[in-house]
Subunit: 215 residues, 2 copies
């Protein structure tokens, strides 16, 4: 298949350098939908419009392909989160927490394939690969951790368990990726607002007041 004249022509016409990104895009979608173990290179190749061995011009192995996707996905999320709080002054830790939860939810909704794979398929990596991904996850967690720690230190948040609370806040975003639909009643921003406010109110110190920063 994909061997007749028309296909060869199209393949020849189209810019060669896009093949790799096509592979990555389709692999991400298929891994998210059927899992890493449940997706064969044959399915990826067919989606891209290649024969299986041609994939090896662009990837080193199926597992390395997964790793690349996971590394990119985590870096992408980390960047977005860091950017979302870059402009917030240090003395407003609850605003930082709010914006982190919000951006995390939005990112998970907008790039649900990416984050589904990132969170589901860690077990498929080698020990070395997994260690690198875990390190990236730590950086993401630390953004939340430092915001919450500052809020507790300033007395605007109750003295909650930092790690457990951060894990909860992250889990909410991950969960959103599983049920969010593009044509649903709520936008990612609305969902992000909602969860951001609930997480902050969940840790808010009695007597403190807080209202969400205008987007």
């Amino acid at each position: 298949m994909s061997n007749d004249f028309a296909d060869r022509l199209v393949a020849a016409r189209s810019p060669r350098r896009e093949t790799k990104s096509l592979i990555y895009r389709h692999a991400l979608r298929l891994f998210a939908r059927h899992g890493y173990a449940g997706t064969s290179l044959r399915e990826i190749a067919e989606a891209v419009g290649l024969e299986v061995p041609s994939l090896y011009t662009h990837i080193r192995s199926k597992r390395e392909l997964l790793y690349d996707l996971m590394e990119f996905g985590n870096r992408d999320l980390l960047d977005r989160l860091a950017r979302s709080v870059a402009a917030v002054p240090d003395d407003r830790p609850l605003d930082r927490l709010y914006l982190l939860v919000r951006e995390n939810v939005i990112s998970h909704c907008r790039h649900s394939d990416q984050t589904t794979v990132v969170f589901t398929e860690i077990r498929e990596l080698s020990d070395d690969q997994r260690a690198k991904i875990v390190a990236l996850r730590r950086e993401i967690e630390n953004l939340f951790r430092s915001a919450l720690e500052a809020a507790v230190a300033e007395g605007v948040a109750r003295p909650v368990n930092i790690a457990v609370t951060v894990f909860g806040a992250l889990a909410i975003g991950r969960g959103a990726a599983t049920w969010y639909r593009e044509n649903g009643p709520l936008s990612p921003e609305e969902i992000g607002d909602l969860y951001g406010e609930q997480v902050v109110r969940g840790v808010l110190a009695p007597g403190s007041d807080w209202s969400s920063p205008g987007a």
Copy 2:
């Protein structure tokens, strides 16, 4: 293997009826650890101490085995949740919500293999099987939904989006299953208390006060 005299003897001595539950137990553990697609019947058979075809005396197919595990897991969780709020009077919806979140977290920690499989492998089921599992999930969600709706109706909770809030509360428990360790610093009950309080405070109406019911 498992064919020498000693093994045969042990197999003969041990009560036959336990084989099926052994298969289920090992399958659950392996599915949780390596995923459904990533676990072969050979691995299950080896863990149980059988040859592969012998599994078919007890299961109809690999997929039916998964379905049975998922159905049991969801019913089990549903029962525990329903039991945890059975004694709570109708006029205390926030207590119900608190106890549901708490019990959900505890169950996910205590039976993390069960809930990992239940939430990860839905995509592997046939349409018919999936429909039945989704119906069970709806029942679980409805427990949370009705508690939260009552709290909003009574004015003790803010008028939050019910569905989104419930999904968030459930996601927290699911997340806990991924990082909870039996020999960690916190017990499932402590984690459940912590998340239960945060969820309730997250939706608490301004001016209302609430404190967690003594366990």
